[in-house]
Every structure is written in C-alpha cells, then in structure tokens.
Symmetry: C2
Subunit: 80 residues, 2 copies
C-alpha cells in the first residue's frame, strides 16, 4: 500500500494484478461486498488484468485507522 494525495486528501493505494478482465472484475465485486458490509467505501479502478484500490476517509479528509483495517482485509480477499 502506497500513501498518496488525491484532491488534497491522503489515501492508501494498492494495485492488484490478475490474468484477465474477468478475474479483475470478480475481485472488484468481492472488495465491493466487503465495503458494503463495513459501510466504508473505496475507489475501485477495474481494468484489464488489474484493480487499483484506494482507501481513505472522506469525512476527515484523509486516513483513519479503519482505512488500514480495510486495506488488510482487501489483502486477505486477494490471497484467498
């Protein structure tokens, strides 16, 4: 996970690689389901063979402990 700033807000970003579009899309769906359960929502950029995930807390304009927890959960979805 890389910290970066988008529109003045700190985010955590990681790019996850896949072997085609369908697998990338399936991962987006799984991370999206995780987000809905937690009521905390990332930005998910789905492209051929990769998904770029950004976690941040818009309400505080940056990173909260919860973002790090969601990042760890995202990693777990990827490795399962």
């Amino acid at each position: 996970w890389q910290p970066l700033t988008v529109d003045g807000e700190q985010r955590l970003r990681r790019v996850f690689k896949f072997k085609n579009f369908a697998e990338a899309l399936a991962f987006t769906q799984r991370v999206g389901d995780l987000a809905e359960e937690a009521d905390h929502h990332p930005a998910l950029l789905t492209e051929w063979g990769k998904v770029t995930v950004d976690w941040w807390t818009h309400k505080i304009g940056g990173l909260h402990r919860n973002d790090f927890i969601m990042a760890a959960k995202t990693d777990r979805v990827y490795s399962s």
Copy 2:
C-alpha cells in the same frame, strides 16, 4: 461522453451517477459483463454514487469505431 487524453491515448469518458455504492457496483458489473461479451475492455472507476467509464482501443492508441458502439451500449445499460 467527453473525449480526453490519458497517457497520450485518446479516450471517451462519461460519469454515471447512482444513489449509493451498491448501485454503482451493480452497474460496474453489468458494464463489465458487456465488455466480456464484446471482448473489448474499458476502465471502470467505481466510487460511492458514481462510476466513471473510459472506452478506448489500446492497440491503436486511441479511439476506434468500436469504442463509440460500446459507449452507446453503456448508455443503454444505464437507462434500462
């Protein structure tokens, strides 16, 4: 749809609005399914309440007739 240039390649972009994250994610899934059927793949940025769709043809480094067809099909998914 707006034409724009990303990494030196022309793309068509449109932002679709939704009332929450779940509806945005469902739209991403439907456009992704459309892409798989056509074997032509967009970039889909899913966020709370919106999805940004980019169509372009990487092989030619820009826009092909097919991208305009996929854009029209994406509009149809949105309005259905």
